[in-house]
């Protein structure tokens, strides 16, 4: 396949994943505002902006710091190049570019998602419609993934798409965890203490993990346990361990098909080994923020190495 097609697919799925995760984060903030009042919600909105790397961009607009304005900025503002709408448009543009690599089902799901979201986000989303709008974003991205699962040949094309998904998802989960810890735990001494349950539930809600966590840790809700769940629990589909396990699978399949491994494989192998051999106690000893910062950097290096190894650009 063309290097440009691999590049287009990789990013098409990164954009879709980021759009979906952004919708989740907004949903968590929205819920916080509904249940905990303005100041808690304001913290949540701030953490959403920091996680998305949009804090400065938003400040530059001079807009009021309210939930309604922030959600619309994140969802659809023309001043925000990384809005959900822009993300969906990028995903769709990439899908058009790689049209010959994807099935008609995947293309139509992507195209339809874009058409629907363009309509939903054509005007500022009122608070009353926000829940429905966020649901639509998640539902539509899932439709694309479903079409992938059901119709795509398991070859290099499929692998590049999922490599993009898992690189992006690992990055997003890591950022959410990092920012939440900063917002929720002003000092490390707080780790291990029992905090406001609702706040921690928000962390889990941002990654659609509240139910899974509750199910496995009946009743308990402690920062360390949640960090362990999001970093190391290979059963949870948005954990770092899960993403890297899948990434390793996609890349192994690629190496098998191509008959050779490249430098990106070695980078991933090392990162994966580190993840598997580290316990949560060690992570906190090392410093959670330091650990995550390192993870995000390595994750970016792997993505860059993939792009270079597989000739995404000249």
């Amino acid at each position: 396949m063309l290097g440009r097609s691999a590049w287009g697919l990789f990013w098409m799925f990164r954009y879709l994943e980021r759009a979906e995760n952004t919708a989740r984060m907004l949903d968590a903030g929205f819920r916080m505002a509904l249940t905990r009042g303005l100041s808690a919600a304001s913290d949540e909105w701030r953490s959403v902006l920091i996680t998305l790397g949009l804090e400065d961009d938003f400040a530059a607009t001079g807009l009021d710091f309210t939930g309604h304005i922030i959600t619309n900025f994140v969802l659809r503002s023309p001043e925000n190049a990384d809005s959900v709408l822009a993300m969906m448009e990028n995903a769709r543009t990439n899908a058009r570019m790689v049209r010959t690599a994807i099935t008609r089902e995947v293309w139509e799901a992507t195209n339809e998602s874009w058409m629907i979201l363009k309509e939903v986000l054509a005007r500022p989303v009122r608070e009353a419609d926000l829940g429905e709008a966020l649901d639509t974003i998640r539902r539509q991205t899932m439709l694309v993934r479903g079409a992938m699962e059901g119709t795509m040949l398991r070859n290099d094309i499929y692998n590049f798409a999922y490599m993009g998904t898992h690189i992006e998802r690992a990055d997003n989960t890591a950022r959410i965890l990092d920012v939440k810890y900063h917002v929720l735990l002003p000092s490390l001494a707080w780790v291990g203490s029992r905090l406001d349950n609702a706040q921690w539930e928000m962390v889990l809600r941002s990654v659609s993990g509240e139910r899974a966590f509750r199910w496995m840790n009946a009743g308990a809700l402690d920062p360390k346990g949640i960090a362990e769940f999001l970093i190391l629990d290979g059963r949870f589909p948005r954990s770092l361990a899960f993403c890297y396990d899948k990434l390793a699978g996609n890349m192994a399949s690629l190496a098998y098909g191509y008959g050779e491994a490249t430098p990106s494989h070695e980078l991933l192998r090392q990162a994966n080994a580190r993840l598997q051999q580290t316990g949560i106690a060690q992570i906190f000893e090392f410093g959670l923020h330091e650990f995550i910062t390192q993870f995000i950097n390595t994750n970016r290096q792997i993505a860059d190495a993939i792009a270079a190894d597989y000739r995404f650009t000249e």
Binding site: L2, R99, T100, W107, E108, N111, D156, Y310, E314
Partner: protein, 487 residues
């Protein structure tokens, strides 16, 4: 699709008597439409209306759109689709095909001759001066024979119908004819909307086209392919090109890579594409970029759409380019009026398909005739396009004609003249029922050393406005599914 007028004259259907393809002079349904009309008359018009709306959402969802330049960036439009098929019988089609095949053979022989010995010039049937200063003629092709001796791998012949067995050629498209994806998708749409109609009326399929195209291209592999299964790629200017949907569609259907200039480079004497595993040589390139943008080293130096050095590789037998560079000379407006002579010269037969009669104002006799008959004629600039700089006699005032006459007398060689034709109509679906509208037809023809393949049908474009002859999609033109009935 290239925009243009059927003949350039918006006129009302009442002004001229014309051939209606469904209803004959006695008000009877012609045999071609018998099966369809029987089915149609049994349908509920409200249900038909609903199906029409569904077709539009189908087109949007599948992304069958064309981009409009100069409007909002990246805006995509639909070409209106009319759900009444345009139908010809197997017999009519057979006669038509023979004419098309004859013309396409002649075009290829003509191109070979122009770039080699120029027998036709020596025989005094074609003035060499038409090649001088004509950008469509490429000196780089002189003395070179493309693999398989095929110049026009894909041809679209634009036809208008004027009578029961009379089709005239309006224009030959020998460069990069577009619209074939609409032929295929229109049929898919019809089958999705009215499956039972296709069990009632037997229609020759068009769906083999992509496979036939792939086979046809592969049969023209260059010497460098060395007998291996040729690697075929489609070269597109990119996703913002107005015909991008079609480029992607054809590549997808053929199982070929869809490449852009940025994916390509000359490596070790071959044109290669950058794959995830390195540079891979391409044997046959179905290019959808114009000659001028093909090779910045040979043609337009600022082109980002082509491949630097591809012409050298081509001339050394390292790649097949389809259509061959320099084929545009065969569909040049200045050449068109010579097509009857060209067909006769290379086939030894009288042309089966007529040209629209054309007076070359460069010739004294013709000029005299044209000057005498300006109020009845359409006069066009030889190199003009899009209906600019032309005179439409029947709809012009005396003053306009007088003004044009001056221009014509000053530079007669710059003009050709044609009569206004009475074009056929076919029914479209309207709120008030079926109504006749003017149409043209572009059949698609594939040429390979193994022969000529004509897909039964083609693209019918229809002027949706009553009485209009403008089939241009930006001015109220639409498309229809085109049926050739089974034998």
């Amino acid at each position: 699709m290239r925009s243009r007028l059927l003949i350039g004259v918006p006129m009302t259907t009442t002004t001229f008597s014309h051939y209606d393809e469904m209803i004959d002079g006695q008000g009877q349904v012609r045999p071609a439409y018998a099966g369809y009309r029987e089915w149609y008359d049994a349908q509920d018009p409200r249900w038909m209306m609903k199906q029409g709306k569904q077709a539009e959402s189908f087109f949007r969802r599948t992304g069958i759109t064309f981009n409009v330049y100069g409007e909002d960036a990246g805006q995509e439009r639909l070409i209106p689709f009319d759900m009444v098929p345009r139908i010809v019988t197997a017999d009519e089609w057979k006669k038509l095909s023979v004419g098309i095949e004859q013309r396409v053979r002649a075009i290829n022989a003509f191109l070979h001759d122009l770039y080699h010995k120029r027998e036709i010039v020596k025989a005094g049937k074609f003035p060499e001066r038409l090649l001088k200063g004509n950008e469509a003629f490429l000196p780089q092709m002189v003395g070179f024979t493309p693999p398989g001796e095929v110049y026009t791998h894909i041809v679209g012949i634009d036809l208008v119908r004027t009578g029961p067995d009379e089709f005239m050629v309006l224009e030959d498209n020998a460069r990069t004819p577009s619209g074939v994806s609409y032929m295929l998708e229109n049929r898919e749409t019809m089958m999705a909307m009215f499956p039972e109609l296709f069990t009632k009326v037997q229609v020759q399929p068009v769906s083999d086209y992509p496979r036939a195209l792939a086979r046809s291209l592969a049969a023209c592999a260059p010497p460098a392919a060395n007998g291996h299964r040729p690697v075929v790629a489609v070269l597109t200017p990119g996703i913002y090109n107005s015909a991008y949907f079609e480029h992607a569609f054809l590549a997808d259907q053929m199982g070929a890579e869809l490449v852009e200039g940025g994916d390509l480079r000359v490596v070790d004497g071959r044109v290669c594409m950058r794959t995830t595993r390195g540079w891979q040589a391409i044997d046959v390139l179905y290019r959808r970029v114009d000659d001028n943008f093909l090779d910045p080293l040979t043609f337009n130096p600022s082109s980002m759409l082509g491949v630097a050095g591809i012409m050298d590789v081509y001339r050394a037998g390292g790649i097949t380019i389809a259509n061959a560079p320099g084929t545009g000379i065969a569909d040049d407006k200045a050449i068109y009026s010579f097509m009857p002579e060209i067909v006769e010269f290379y086939t030894g037969e009288k042309p089966i398909l007529k040209n629209v009669p054309t007076w070359r104002c460069a010739e004294a006799d013709s000029l005299a005739y044209v000057l005498d008959h300006l109020p009845e004629l359409v006069v066009k600039e030889v190199h003009g396009s899009g209906g600019y700089g032309m005179l439409i006699g029947p709809t012009s005032s005396k003053a306009e004609i007088a003004a044009f006459e001056k221009k014509l007398r000053a530079r007669p060689e710059n003009y050709i003249a044609q009569p206004t034709l009475s074009l056929s109509t076919v029914p479209i679906f309207t709120k008030a029922g079926l109504a006749p509208r003017h149409v043209d037809l572009r059949p698609f023809v594939l040429v390979s050393p193994n022969g000529i393949n004509i897909t039964p049908g083609g693209l019918t474009r229809v002027a949706l406005k009553k009485g209009s002859l403008v089939v241009n999609s930006s001015q109220g033109g639409g498309t229809k599914d085109s049926w050739v009935l089974a034998e």
